[in-house]
Symmetry: C2
Amino acid sequence: MEKFEITILGCGSATPSPKHYTSSQVVEVRGKLFMVDCGEGTQIQLRRSRVAFARINHIFISHLHGDHCFGLLGMISSFGLLGRTAPLYIHAPQELEPMLSQEMAFYCRDLEFTVEFQGFDPAATTVVYDDRSLTVTSFPLRHRVPCAGFLFREKPTSDHLDRAAADFYGVPQWDYNRIKEGGDFTAPDGTVVPHDRLTKPADPGRSYAYCCDTAYNPSMIPVIKGADMIYHDCTYSEDDADRARKHFHSTATDAARTAAEAGAGKLMLGHFSARYPDENILLEEAQQIFKDTILAKENLTVTI
Amino acid sequence: MEKFEITILGCGSATPSPKHYTSSQVVEVRGKLFMVDCGEGTQIQLRRSRVAFARINHIFISHLHGDHCFGLLGMISSFGLLGRTAPLYIHAPQELEPMLSQEMAFYCRDLEFTVEFQGFDPAATTVVYDDRSLTVTSFPLRHRVPCAGFLFREKPTSDHLDRAAADFYGVPQWDYNRIKEGGDFTAPDGTVVPHDRLTKPADPGRSYAYCCDTAYNPSMIPVIKGADMIYHDCTYSEDDADRARKHFHSTATDAARTAAEAGAGKLMLGHFSARYPDENILLEEAQQIFKDTILAKENLTVTI
């Protein structure tokens, strides 16, 4: 199976702490690297990780709080100093464009690559990236400012050929691809052998939902339904539920309810407040509702 | 003796590397904390150090390359989130003001403290800070863009009273301070006892010169003459002297010559290129010219 991996660069909230960097992670799908959020220090974490710095071509920004984007200018500047020539695509709320353009004009005058800003509306559900094998969809979260989650979904591969059936009906090799992609086979005597008899269904595409910085948000369930993994805001424990409501963040319970309602495969908790010396209390709280839960931590890589 | 300490938060050049953070340090003089430069990740380093985050009231920025100022916005934002109310003074090249104002208007809308921007001209030698016991003077360095060094100089204390002499001449206690600050004593019989006979000279003020990002720059010698410690650009070794000239940086030899010519007490090398796996080659090169040299490193604290 092709690689589909998430590497956590930072999973703390608000400000960097001695324990956590602020939000950033890298999603690798079939050899392509995508960065999601870029808090201060992201490039530091990235260069300590095994992730190939220069292979990141797309950066997705969920919202314009500093702990999710203060590392962006430094990344762009360092890409320049390190001799990057490939275009870099920034997918972010449209509001960021004028600010980032001014900052780049001031600080990054001699870049030898272009920064392609691709703004989106965080209040809408939108396909923000699409290629042959992957779609990234932004969807609205419930936060103090406009804020988006991102769903990374592999496109299903073509169906698998049933070699025994193909041989039995005399399908020539040059016709395999057409049949895998949905075609029927017409034998020399005119008999039509339907596609379904010659193939086994493709693997469904895997999917990963990034839901950082949101209050409990049932409206996103239809979008993230069936995700193999959900990364979810878990700033607080249920003991601090009032604080969570006030700041439009989630408790471990909120995150676990969401994973259960979405029928997710796995839940990864993140965006931790610095107030919990031991985050296992968050893990235990979530696991009472949704068993297959793990804690994010810096430099953790998980396979979807 | 009152505290006069330098704590290195970052001493790498250009971009953060697995080995070094970019430029930042904290100068503590008599209980007051001053930050010099603020590269990306400075607040991360600061919270890992023993330096009291909230006690920093003044930040000095040498020039507007990202590795010296990309951490500033994050620091300001985090001060806000952590409930700061005391004004924060930013001393930086005037050119920074409009950019920083716009960034703050965009990212830091609800600060409960004021950021007082105090611009200076990096091409001039200027007193940028002055209080009862300390003066900070900016002076021009030789870099690709306008760039300043900073000289921290303690003001001399008043002279020390010679208690034995004071008793001998019958000086009353209530008159001590006047005499320490330069006065003569007139005895009841009209005899004038001169100041020098009643006191020993004050300790000369200690001084620290920050000379980061500069080619060899003899024009600054008169300003930093006699500094107890000089922190100097040492991006390259003499083997890479061409590169140093090209980028307006110094070699270890340039740094050591400067320290020798200034008659410095000590030299601290910093702003290292990532190209040297072992910086001891820089240290050895400098020590051939100026013996009392050390290497900067993250979290090192030295006393002046």
